[in-house]
Structure formats: structure tokens, C-alpha cells
């Protein structure tokens, strides 16, 4: 999706703000959200691609306003609800209960954890269509779903810099449509191709792009 998360090349976000002696987390709830996210991914309640897409689908003003781990919280909620493991009403009610009864016990586990989802059969990845040094164009696509091809690179010409092994295709996996692994490439773009006259001198940008994001530049 063409979302506000796709922020590479945007202006207006100000200087980089660094914090001296930054702690790992700024509040206890952040560490808990981080732990819950990792466990949910390990147990395959949802995929890393669905987790990313859950963040991307936040209401845009909320995305920009929310601190980092609040974005994770939003995605965990959305994905668990989507998977039928929780309801929004349950969460609202439990939040209200905890607010009114700070420190009170809440019910402990009453059921055994479900077995992790079994992997679906994964089709064999196609053979790489490109070789190192090949000239390619990132496709000009604007899917409403999840994609890892940033807007700043779409329609732009680059060169295959390196071949990686096949990786799960996020554009399908984020939507529960299967892993469909594809060859992954490191693609090298000249900054001038990306940013025109606004480019800084002597800059190159590398993106890791899946086979179907690319077309031959000579076709």
C-alpha cells in the first residue's frame, strides 16, 4: 500500500534526535509488548509480514503520532483479532477492569496453548531471472496490500548487485496467501536515478527486492 509508513525520501520530519545513555526501553509496557510480539511470531499466531502490515494499516495520523511500541501494540491487537484469537470488546473490557482495579488478579491460564500452526506446503521458488550486472527496472505498481517495494524506487532503473537465496514473498504472506518464496536480489540504484537533480553527489542506494518486483530494463 502507498502508506505513510513508506517514508523514505520524505521531507519535514526534522533533525535526528539522539538520546544519550538511552535505556533499552523507556517504560515497562514497552518491554512487554516487545516480548509478546516475539512470542506471537515464534508461535506463528501471525507472520512477520502480517505484523508489519498491521502497523501500516494504522490510521495515518495515529501512525505518525504513536510512539514506536504503540505501533507494535496496534499491530498485535489487529492481527490477533483478525485471527479470531481475541476480540476488541474483550480487550476494552479487560483494559477497563485493570484501570479500575489496579493490581487486582486477572484470570490465569485455563486452557492449554494451541499447537503452533503447521507450515503450509511451500511451492519451490522459481529460478532467478536475473544475474549480477543485469540492468533492471523496479515495477511501477501501487498495490493496496502489503509490499516491500518502496515508492521512491518504483519505475526506477537499477542493477543487480548480488543474488540472495529465495525468501518468503511478503506481498502474499502478509495476507495469509502463502509464502511463495522468490529469488531475492540486492539491487543497486544511483541516487541520481532516484532523486534527479536533488540527489547528493556520489551516492548509491541498495534495496533487497524480490524477483517479481523487477523487470528487465531492456524489455
Amino acid at each position: 500500500m502507498n502508506g505513510v509508513h513508506d517514508i523514505g525520501g520524505m521531507h519535514g520530519f526534522g533533525p535526528i534526535e539522539r538520546e544519550a545513555d538511552e535505556p533499552h526501553f523507556h517504560a515497562e509496557w514497552e518491554a512487554h509488548i516487545s516480548a509478546i510480539m516475539e512470542i506471537a511470531l515464534d508461535r506463528r499466531y501471525f507472520t512477520i509480514d502480517a505484523a508489519r502490515h498491521g502497523i501500516e494499516r494504522m490510521e495515518p495520523a495515529h501512525y505518525l503520532r504513536a510512539p514506536y511500541f504503540e505501533r507494535w501494540l496496534a499491530s498485535i491487537e489487529r492481527n490477533l483479532i483478525q485471527e479470531g484469537l481475541l476480540t476488541d470488546a474483550e480487550l476494552d473490557a479487560r483494559t477497563e477492569f485493570i484501570r479500575r482495579n489496579p493490581g487486582a488478579d486477572t484470570p490465569s491460564g485455563t486452557s492449554t496453548p494451541p499447537p503452533p500452526k503447521s507450515h503450509q506446503a511451500i511451492p519451490a521458488p522459481p529460478e532467478p531471472r536475473f544475474a549480477v550486472g543485469d540492468r533492471v527496472v523496479a515495477r511501477n505498481v501501487h498495490p493496496v496490500g502489503h509490499t516491500r517495494l518502496p515508492r521512491y524506487a518504483r519505475g526506477k532503473r537499477g542493477m543487480i548487485h548480488r543474488l540472495y537465496g529465495p525468501q518468503t514473498f511478503p506481498d502474499t504472506n502478509a495476507h495469509g496467501l502463502g509464502e511463495h518464496p522468490q529469488p531475492l536480489y540486492s539491487v543497486r540504484f544511483e541516487a541520481r536515478e532516484l532523486w534527479g537533480d536533488s540527489a547528493e553527489p556520489r551516492e548509491v542506494v541498495y534495496l533487497d527486492l524480490w524477483d517479481s518486483y523487477l523487470e528487465s530494463a531492456t524489455s
Partner: protein, 202 residues
């Protein structure tokens, strides 16, 4: 739902609610959460990466294998190199790592990412004006240097092998590792010579 700012922040309450519901449903155990949190507390940040860098500086053969395949960090007993790619800074080429669409980061070697790495300013600017960004970090690159920006868009993770500073010929591998900063391995800083290292360390 009414919200009193004097109370716990809403996100903290909501997180407790989420965790408690997941525990009730048997989808999560409190022990598993505590265990992860203990791991975060034991997180040694960028020390693993620093060991890798120091070894690469003293052992050219290791460096060769490392640049070929990040999995070479297993030689130092470090896991998580399977998707690691190490890129080498030289006097003519400077590398810097970003994730514009989320916050992909080489956790296995650098630990938890700093907030600035996840913030919109770094994510938006690093690909379009890396020299301006590096300048904000205090790093002014000569105009003859090529800047290579790695936007981590898949499950490959990038770490920068910084240049070994001059004047470190007599140092041990351990002493070298102590010079290496997280920022240098992201590519927003250089490793300072021993005299200035205390200032440059993050």
C-alpha cells in the same frame, strides 16, 4: 473510555489487558514473557558486533570470509549470522544502514536498536540526503567518497565493518573491540583513534 493522565498511560493499561487475556486463553505464559524480558536486560548491545569487527581487523582471512558471508560470525561462537551481510568501509567508500519502511536492524550483532534508528527523521532522510544526515552525527565525508546506503527491505540484515583507525597497531583484539561503537557499525560514525575513542563512544 475516559482516561485520566494522572493514571498509568493508556497504552500501559492496554498492554496489561492484552497480556492478561492472552495468558487466560493459554496463548501466552507469564514465564515466557518474563524470560524474554530477562534476555532484554542481559542484552549486551553492540558488543558482539564489536568482537566481529576487531577480529576482522586482526585476521584478514576471517575478514575475507565475513565479507563473503555473514555466517562467518559463527567462528566467534555467535549465532544469527545466517541472514547477515557485512559491508566494508574504506577511504573511498562509506556504507550506512537504514530501514525506511519499518525498523529492520541487525539485532544478532548489535542488540536492540536506538530510538533514532526507528524514528521518522532518520528513516525518511537517510536515503535522500545521507551526507546531511551523517553531518548531523558529526561525520563530514570528503566529496570524493561514495556513500552507499543500504535500505533493509527484506530479511537480510546489514552491518558495517568500519575502518580501523590509525595508531592502533599495538592494540590487542580486545582493546580494539572496546573502540568499536554501535554507531560505527550502523555507519553513522567512524571509529575514533584510541585518544578520541572515549568521546566518540556511544
Amino acid at each position: 473510555m475516559s482516561y485520566d493522565p494522572e493514571q498509568e498511560p493508556y497504552v500501559a493499561l492496554r498492554t496489561k489487558a492484552l497480556e492478561s487475556l492472552l495468558i487466560e486463553k493459554g496463548l501466552l505464559s507469564a514465564e515466557a514473557v518474563d524470560e524474554r524480558i530477562s534476555e532484554y536486560e542481559r542484552d549486551i548491545g553492540p558488543l558482539k558486533g564489536a568482537k566481529v569487527v576487531a577480529r576482522a581487523w586482526v585476521d584478514p582471512d576471517f575478514k575475507g570470509r565475513l565479507l563473503q558471508d555473514g555466517a562467518a560470525i559463527a567462528e566467534l561462537g555467535l549465532p544469527g549470522g545466517g541472514n547477515l551481510v557485512v559491508v566494508e568501509n574504506t577511504p573511498s567508500d562509506h556504507h550506512v544502514v537504514v530501514c525506511t519502511r519499518c525498523s529492520c536492524y541487525p539485532w544478532s550483532v548489535l542488540g536492540l536498536p536506538p530510538t533514532w534508528y526507528k524514528d521518522f527523521a532518520y528513516r525518511s532522510r537517510a536515503v535522500i540526503e545521507p551526507r546531511a544526515v551523517l553531518r548531523e552525527f558529526g561525520l563530514e565525508l570528503d566529496e570524493t567518497v561514495t556513500v552507499h546506503v543500504w535500505d533493509s527491505s527484506a530479511e537480510v540484515r546489514y552491518m558495517v565493518l568500519p575502518e580501523r583507525p590509525a595508531g592502533t597497531e599495538g592494540l590487542t583484539e580486545e582493546e580494539l573491540a572496546a573502540l568499536v561503537t554501535r554507531d560505527a557499525m550502523i555507519g553513522v560514525a567512524k571509529v575514533g583513534a584510541p585518544a578520541t575513542a572515549a568521546v566518540a563512544a556511544d
